[in-house]
Amino acid sequence: MSHPLRLTVNDGEYLVIAAAGAYLLDVLRDDLGLQGTKEACAEGECGSCTVLIDGEPVDSCIYFAAQATGKRITTVEGLGRNGAHPVQRAFAALGAVQCGFCTPGFVVAAAALLQRSPNPGVDEIREALAGNLCRCTGYNNIVAAVLAAAGSQDGDA
């Protein structure tokens, strides 16, 4: 059975017809064409599919689209609308991106972290991003990029 759903994504309003039980990730990628959000495990283990719901990071692969109605959804495409978000700039500049498949999930999660804690320490960054897997970088440069983005943020975000 399909239902019409009204979703607010990156400040835009969308009406989609989604199967009951459709996951938000599939609706974003397949119905709205927002393919920046990635799937790597489809069971809430890797964080590749991270989006923000009312500013909080969630794994969209295990989050029903229907749960998101009436909430504010932010995807990687919505992060950098006034020029790239400082986190995105820092990731690109500081080697936090290799294959980049984990990157949308990381930058979204890191942006949420900086929103609630503008100057996190290394331990806080490690803890906040421990739910996101990266198979390429070994994480050094990801931590460095989030630290740098925090330092560059004032009045920029």
Partner: protein, 764 residues
Amino acid sequence: MTAPAPDTVGRSVGRLDGGAKVTGRYEYGVDASRPGMLWARLARSPHAHARILSVDTTAALAVPGVRVVLTGADTLGYLASRYVRDEPLLALDRVRYPGEPVAAVAADTQEAAEAACRLVRVEYEPLPVISSVEEALADDATVIHPDWASYWVSPIIRRPGGNVVSHASLRRGDTAALFESADHVFEDTFEVPMVHQASLEGRVAIAEVDDAGVVHVWSSHQYPFGLRQDISDILHIPLGKIRVTVTGVGGGFGGKLYAGAEPYCIILAQRTGRPVKLRYTREEEMIATSPRMGATVRLRTAVAADGTLLAREGWIDYDSGAYSESSPGVVSVGLLTLAGPYRWQALSIDTRAIYTNKAGCGSYRAPGAPQAVFAGESQLDRIARELGIDPLRLRLHNAVRDGDLGPTGQVLNNVSLVETLQAAADRIDWDSAGAGHLRGKGLSCTWWTTTGMPSSAYVRMDEDGTFVLITGATEIGTGAVTAGVAQICAGELGIDPADLKIVSADTGTTPYDFGAQGSRTLVQAGNAAIAAAEDLKSQMFDIAAAKLGCQAEELEMSDGEIRHTNDPELSLSVSDVARLGGTRGGLLGRGSYEQPPTPYDADSVQGAMIGAFNIPSFATHACEVSVDGATGEVTLDRYVVAQDVGRVVNPRYCEGQVTGGAVQGIGQAMFEEIIHRGGHVMNPNFTDYKLPTLSDVPHIETILVEVPSDSGPYGAKGVGEQAIIGPPAAIANAVRDATGHPIQRLPITAERVWQSLRGPGTAS
């Protein structure tokens, strides 16, 4: 090519694909689509080993939206595996591992394809399951490939038959005499499980066939030219009727070097006349795609009382799974890495790949090496401990140096092992007294190759003076192409790397490259790019010299200007030359590079596809751990890698290769293991197959050592694979230092350490 490096080299410039990747605009294989595209899905065997009695696709075909269902009968003669062609595209008369494809479906939707797969009815008659190498080698073992002798085999490979895929051996010097006379002989056995590349993007491809029968494949792949050859070999399609375009690649690590999803897409596209996409789920990745081989490693080492290594005998039995994939090549790497970077008077090593009823194994970053090095470097620490010699001094005493011979007699040049040992030991404060109760430090040393083989490139100058690098090399995430080769090429052209455009990895538009494998891209594709830039520049200088009335040899190019070396007033802008050149239809520089093979003593090896390490490089890993005596839990407090990279082209991405490799190696050391029961994978997901996260690993401290090579760009050596090799032994040695108990099986889980604390061992 040790010409002076341009000023772009040695700087951490940004990568050309960085912007698209951070904003989510970069298009990966999973994102690609074609108009009118169908979805494919494979029906897979639930049995590890069984005869197929019948296959009935009637119910599957009746699912609405299903366009075609193919079985083994439709794919007769389509055999995969590059070196021993033993793998039917779809099983015909028997299945040899759980998850082996028995039917391929194309349907309008993924849901319909999946539903149809569940309705493919196959009648099986189970056969005895070979679930380990030991069982495979038993005298009365069921032979997994009864027809093994009839398979096509590439040259060099030695196949004794039965369940042995291939056998390589190394013999140098008189091991028997040395073992006879040695003061000490040490013998140990080590076990290493299969581990998976686990690239976050799995295998995914699209194929489309045009009216003339030309096949176009889009694939998340590391080696488009190899894939084109594989497709031609497997499906008997002429090479010239195949085009492979690489999409964005969400990680490879060796897992995307061979044909995978592509041939299925092609046969389904041929049947339906529609583009077909096949994407493996995470579970399919984990149960049915080519992981790193597990291994049993036995070694005996003869040592003099002063710690001088004399001779080594070694045996590695690698578990190849049900198909050969890359194992016939990998066994030869075992010969070189079990010897390690040490001086030996004699060596006798045998490495084999063995068939079992598990998914066929393939290449994973430094294939074959971590298994061997875990054994060799762990045993070195046992030797040091029992002879009362410091493990660092034992290694320094035996380390290869310039002019020494490698295990197969290659002459070693630009050797940097001692430098890396000293750098890593200094950084970890090796000599500072014992870290305390249940704390320990460990070391391991590695050496690795920079694979040769051809690379070609074009550098094109467009009408407005824009430069475009056209390379067959593939960017799989390392930055080797979009940072390193781009920097090299831009430097040679005297422009900012950000202004260079790149076209890459498309057999339809780019020249040949041997692929993103063997740590070769920066070195080999870099050399090709230099040659192409040189060629373009000489054409531009000819045009400019005629215009300026001087000799071409008197010109140089930088910052968009061509100038006379002695008279800077005499100059032309690149865009002026472009306009002049444009009247001749534009300019194209061409460059190819292929290093001559590294000489070695060919008589010392048999059955070895790889007999020497090309441009070898060296590394030392050092770490510090603490062990919880109550739980056995190991905490990695510090981790240091000192690795020789020859010449740093981009410090940030160079370090990124080292840190990324080290963390994958830490995963192998501490967490990762494909757990099998009766051939079935028990942990086919990221919940149960644990990858290292930010909470598991410390900041990786890297030291880039620069001992230039003779032939890499400005002295560069390969970087990508080496750092994955060292961690299991370094961590096992640190745990042993902490607890006094050896670790001889990976991964080093809390449970295993806890058990070792209660088992026999020596007090620390």
